[in-house]
């Protein structure tokens, strides 16, 4: 599963790079900012809670209103085990990419896309350590507003589903993420 997803991502990246040289203005943008993560898994939410993390992405125009989109985000929190109250930490680092459709509405640029997400996870506490990487799906929608001289401000929301089962417990490490980013469009 993971190998297949990686191949898809590489093909997408290659397609994107092949267009870089011919890209007109608005054909490439980068964004970075902060995201606020609402975990889908109840135990993740109960032990660690919602939380902020870094958030970044790049978009590359492929054809007309279709963009290639690559992203990364992170979530790292600590909490307490429910009975013993011992410390526990969770780290989620997600990278991925996909395709987006873009449309203009006045000064706003609306977009929505879908793609694959690879999540590297690590949970450590007195019980032990669970870590690994799994691939899931992600969908995103949002808009950005060009400000001045290529600068833009971007608001986006995404939902990911990344199911893992490193041992006895299966969990979905995805969830909903809201992000606010500043970017630059070339």
């Amino acid at each position: 599963m993971m190998r297949k997803s990686a191949i898809v991502l590489l093909l997408m990246a290659a397609a994107a790079v092949s267009h870089v040289g011919a890209a007109p203005r608005d054909a490439f943008s980068v964004k970075a900012g902060a995201g606020y993560f609402y975990p889908a898994e109840s135990s993740l939410k109960k032990i660690y809670g919602n939380g902020t993390g870094w958030n970044a992405e790049m978009n590359l125009k492929l054809v007309s209103i279709l963009d290639f989109w690559a992203f990364g985000n992170g979530y790292r929190k600590s909490g307490r085990l429910p009975v013993t109250a011992e410390s526990t930490t969770m780290r989620l680092t997600t990278f991925g990419g996909g395709l987006k459709l873009r449309a203009a509405a006045g000064p706003l640029r609306l977009y929505a896309g879908i793609g694959a997400a690879a999540c590297a996870y690590r949970e450590a506490n007195a019980i032990g350590v669970a870590q690994g990487t799994n691939v899931g799906i992600i969908g995103q929608a949002g808009f950005y507003l060009p400000i001045v001289a290529g600068l833009l401000i971007d608001l986006a929301g995404d939902y990911a589903s990344i199911k893992v089962k490193p041992a006895a417990i299966a969990a979905d490490l995805g969830g909903t993420r809201l992000a606010v980013r500043l970017g630059y469009v070339f």
Binding site: E41, S43, L44, I47, Y48, G79, L81, P82, V83, T84, T88, M90, Y121, E123, N125, I127, G128, V129, A130, V164, P166, A167, A168, I169, A171
Partner: protein
């Protein structure tokens, strides 16, 4: 008819005793009298005093039943003292004076016609060995009933000097002087013998402890009393002298057990041993299985809790064991401030059995409390 009122006993302690001889009041019941008496059970603040009163009456009656004896005829509602032909014993608040009890005697010539005994209900009474001991005071007042006046020591001294539930030789001699000695001669009666046969001296005991004694006397054993410390556990008037001590309401540690045998003329003998009451099982020991899992890592924990036993003292720790097959595995030893424990990494679907023991300062583990933790 001459009526005579006699105040008998005050609350002051006798500080020093002197060599004494019995003193006669000059009046007595006719020899051979079987004096009936009634007891007002409702007039006292305490309860359970009837057995103490009857025990005192039995002690006097045992001296020489053919010379004089007292027979309980049942309860009465009469309060106080009245010359009414009925010998009554009861309680009445006589105010916060030093008087513990008063015996009122009505006589004609040298013959007693009636006696009423009134215990002062303003005093604090006990039937279990505390002050003031009902049986001791009843034994004294009944000495007046038979015709003995105060002496300077023994049961007939005027002041309360602690528990005395037998008739001393001086009072006994006074009784014999009035009513005669029993066949065989009271003076030649040898004291009884008694020995505790269980538990063994130094034994570690707990729970219901068999407490037995062997007693004998050349003219018969009147009663055998079993004490734990200073507390009377039971009084037995017939062999076999066997009882059980419920140790659940006694403090753990070194404890003295005593058996006191009294023969028919009030002579006593005692035997005492020391035993060690091991710590009581901690009460309300229970457990529950809880899920301590994080998001990705599973762990189930048996959480156990208990309480400190109110009669455990000098406890140094608690030991927690888990049953693994036929083996008891020590899970941990906890200080006395700890009243909960966790057994980690147990199986989700398995049931477990635990035993918890309190350990005293001598390193002696006590009775175990058992708890079972079932699968959720």
């Amino acid at each position: 008819m001459r009526r005579r009122r006699i105040r008998i006993l005050s609350a002051c302690l006798l500080l020093a005793g002197a060599a004494s001889a019995y003193v006669l009041m000059g009046v007595k019941w006719p020899t051979g009298t079987n004096m009936g008496f009634t007891v007002n059970l409702a007039s006292a603040k305490i309860s359970g005093q009837l057995s103490s009163v009857l025990s005192a009456a039995a002690t006097w009656s045992a001296l020489n039943p053919s010379g004089f004896r007292m027979t309980y005829q049942g309860p009465t509602a009469v309060v106080g003292y009245h010359y009414d032909g009925a010998n009554t014993i009861g309680w009445q608040d006589q105010g916060a004076s030093s008087t513990l009890a008063t015996t009122y005697t009505w006589s004609s010539g040298a013959t007693i016609l009636e006696n009423d005994i009134v215990f002062n209900d303003a005093q604090t009474w006990s039937i279990t060995g505390g002050s003031y001991d009902v049986e001791t005071v009843a034994l004294h007042e009944m000495g007046h009933v038979v015709g003995l006046d105060h002496s300077s020591s023994g049961i007939m001294q005027a002041y309360y000097a602690g528990i005395q539930r037998s008739i001393d030789a001086d009072a006994r001699a006074g009784f014999y002087a009035m009513y005669g000695a029993p066949a065989g001669g009271g003076g030649s009666d040898h004291p009884p013998t008694v020995s505790i046969t269980a538990p063994a001296a130094g034994a570690l005991v707990s729970g219901m402890v068999p407490f037995t004694a062997a007693a004998s006397d050349d003219h018969g054993v009147g009663k055998v009393e079993f004490y734990v410390g200073a507390v009377l556990v039971t009084r037995m008037t017939a062999s076999p002298y066997q009882t059980s001590w419920d140790s659940s309401a006694s403090y753990n540690g070194a404890t003295t057990l005593k058996a006191v045998a009294t023969d028919t003329i009030g002579q006593t003998a005692s035997d005492q041993i020391g035993v060690v009451l091991i710590p009581h099982a901690p009460p309300n020991f229970s457990g529950i299985k809880k899920n301590n899992s994080s998001t990705l890592l599973e762990q189930y924990i048996n959480v156990l809790s208990w309480e400190a036993h109110p009669y455990n003292r000098d406890i140094q720790s608690y030991r927690l064991y888990r049953q693994d097959g036929s083996v008891w595995t020590l899970i941990g030893e906890f200080d006395t401030q700890t009243l909960t424990a966790m057994d980690k990494n147990v199986k989700k679907s398995a049931a477990y059995t635990y035993i918890l023991k309190a350990v005293d300062n001598g390193g002696r583990p006590g009775d175990g409390a058992t708890a079972q933790v079932k699968a959720p």
